[in-house]
């Protein structure tokens, strides 16, 4: 080669320097805080994917208040279980917002969250929703409630209750439909078996399932009301039905033991009427029961959150996440674990 080039030794040295510089840069990312007024605080929010937009808008509103004006945010959103395990394994977090309580319990067990995190009036819950049934436009199959899901030929999409912790709300709602209405465990198990037998896809997460359904898979998609509303706000073309009886979804949020003091003020703001109204606008049911005047994407935007005749809760109908995790999802012995293991076998 005749073109001028570095000697091998020099280029090796240059490469080494480059790698060293890059590694240094990588390790410094976490340490570098945005420069600004000296009092600036950075809060780390770690959460599951769905409330990302709501949290961003709530943060914006909070920054208009005296408490929040000097605070900036570092946010990380992903699958609820993954995010919880990341925090347990050292990802910095001041405030966490997960889909299911067991993801916070993991942090309590790890000594990162105070054991009395549920002692407040909100019992650790920062956002709520209900399980709903999304159907094709015009509801061609005439789906009204849970019993229609086990009719032969109805194709169901629901996120995989094994690999997605958040998806467990859906399967528990179906269980409660039988078990909380006087049915025996055997009858409820049989109902779940028929329902899962009609499943054509169990995508990896709630968002994956929404994508699969809006891409044409299945007739009915068991999902969360806020996810359905958010998808319709983004232009997805489907209808959804709030069954007469369904399960209340309660998403926990809390501050960590080592959190910066501003995190507690942030949590207070998240629970305020102002923040809950923002949750409402993105499809969550506000904790205070006051629905925003108008929620785009809801079946009836003027009356977005119809009250089901019967609303099951984890506390009333399942005891606690700890108990139900064992009963339904334990390795080998869990009811849902066993039903899934038998799927697809003739």
């Amino acid at each position: 080669m005749s073109h001028p080039s570095l000697s091998p030794r020099r280029s090796l040295a240059a490469l080494t320097l480059l790698i060293a510089a890059w590694l240094t840069a990588c390790s410094n990312v976490a340490a570098s805080a945005p420069s600004g007024s000296g009092e600036s605080t950075v809060l780390s929010i770690v959460g599951y994917a769905v409330p990302a937009e709501a949290n961003a808008r709530i943060a914006e509103a909070w920054q208009q208040t005296p408490d929040g004006q000097d605070v900036t945010f570092e946010t990380s959103y992903g699958a609820s279980g993954d995010q919880s395990r990341n925090v347990l394994n050292g990802q910095p977090a001041d405030y966490v917002h997960f889909s299911v309580e067991s993801d916070v319990t993991r942090l309590v067990d790890g000594g990162l969250v105070s054991p009395d995190w549920k002692s407040g009036p909100n019992k650790g819950v920062v956002s709520t929703s209900v399980v709903v049934l999304a159907v094709r436009p015009g509801n061609p199959l005439g789906i009204k409630g849970w019993d229609d899901l086990i009719k032969p030929g109805v194709e169901i999409v629901t996120p995989n209750p094994a690999s997605s912790g958040a998806a467990r709300w859906n399967i528990l709602a179906a269980w409660a439909h039988i078990a909380a209405n006087g049915g025996s465990d055997a009858e409820a198990t049989d109902f779940l078996k028929k329902l899962l037998g009609n499943a054509v896809a169990l995508p990896g997460s709630g968002r994956d399932a929404t994508t699969a359904f809006t891409s044409g898979t299945g007739d009915v998609f068991i999902t969360y009301e806020n996810e359905a509303i958010l998808a319709r706000q983004s232009g997805a073309d489907f209808d959804y039905i709030v069954p007469d009886d369904t399960l209340l979804i309660e998403n926990p949020g809390t501050v960590l033991i080592d959190a910066k003091p501003a995190a507690t003020q942030w949590l207070d703001f998240v629970l305020s009427d102002q923040a809950q109204e923002i949750f409402g606008e993105t499809g969550f049911r506000p904790l205070n029961g006051k629905a925003p005047a108008r929620v785009e994407g809801a079946n009836d935007p003027e009356s977005p959150f119809p009250q089901p005749q019967r609303l099951y809760t984890i506390a009333n109908d399942f005891g606690s996440w700890e108990e139900l995790s064992k009963t339904f999802f334990a390795e080998q012995t869990g009811i849902v674990t066993q039903l899934l293991a038998e799927l697809g076998k003739s």
Partner: protein, 297 residues
Amino acid sequence: MTGTALAPAPVIRDEVIVEPAPTAIRSVRAQPRYHRRLTAASGLGLGVAVLWLSLLVLIPLAAVVGTAVAGGPGAFWAALTAPQTLNAIGLTVAVAAGIALLNAVMGTIIAWVLVRDRFWGRGVLNVVIDIPFAMPTIVAGLVLLSLYGPRSPIGVNIANTRMSVALAIAFVTLPFVVRTVMPVLEELELDVEEAASSLGASSWVTFRRIVLPSLAPAITSGVALSFARGISEYGSLVLLTGNMPNRTEVVSVRVLSHIENGELGSAAAIATGMLVIALAVLATLDLVQRKAARHDS
């Protein structure tokens, strides 16, 4: 072929006698020279290589195996042989192996076309080959779902079937054989093939007797990479295949389910099982390749 043969003797093959072009074939198959004693520089090199490999691969692997056996042999075996898991392993390994073999054929054809033929758009095609490498796999799944799902514009719906598992794995492993074969094909000198055909060998015989033996090691390593990538695939599958237990569920989804449940031992047990399968397949491919090389010389 031995490294000491400076002037290879003419090799007698079925139909033609060929003097191997020393640069072309030996550059591919000749044994590398090695030092019998480590010099200071090569000792340093070895040290860096082992340290780097340990930090990135060996120590994490040891941790996985350690977690897997921590629960005792009973738990390890139970996790690995649960019917749902066995079905997932069977499906994943069978599809990854089948697609790897398909890649051996299709990848070689694509490499051949890209190296030997000159046509309009060749440069573009050359870049397009790498897209499965560059694209986030979840995006690949999304694209495949919109093309071959229920709303397929071309009327092909294979979403949530086993075919979809094969399709996604074929997509993400496409570049491996192409990219391992192309440089070898570029190095091959045309003289040998011309000599063969001038001595009366048909183009098929020339390909089979002259070209293919030189390409075999590259194809084999491409197949190995493709298989290894296939059995570990997750992202492109979760949307497309529906993750139906015992039907379309792959191993990585089983592992993730165990992790979600906090059953780290079971997750590690399955990972260890897959590690053993992968090692067995890679070792077998290596043996086949060595045997073929010895047979050739």
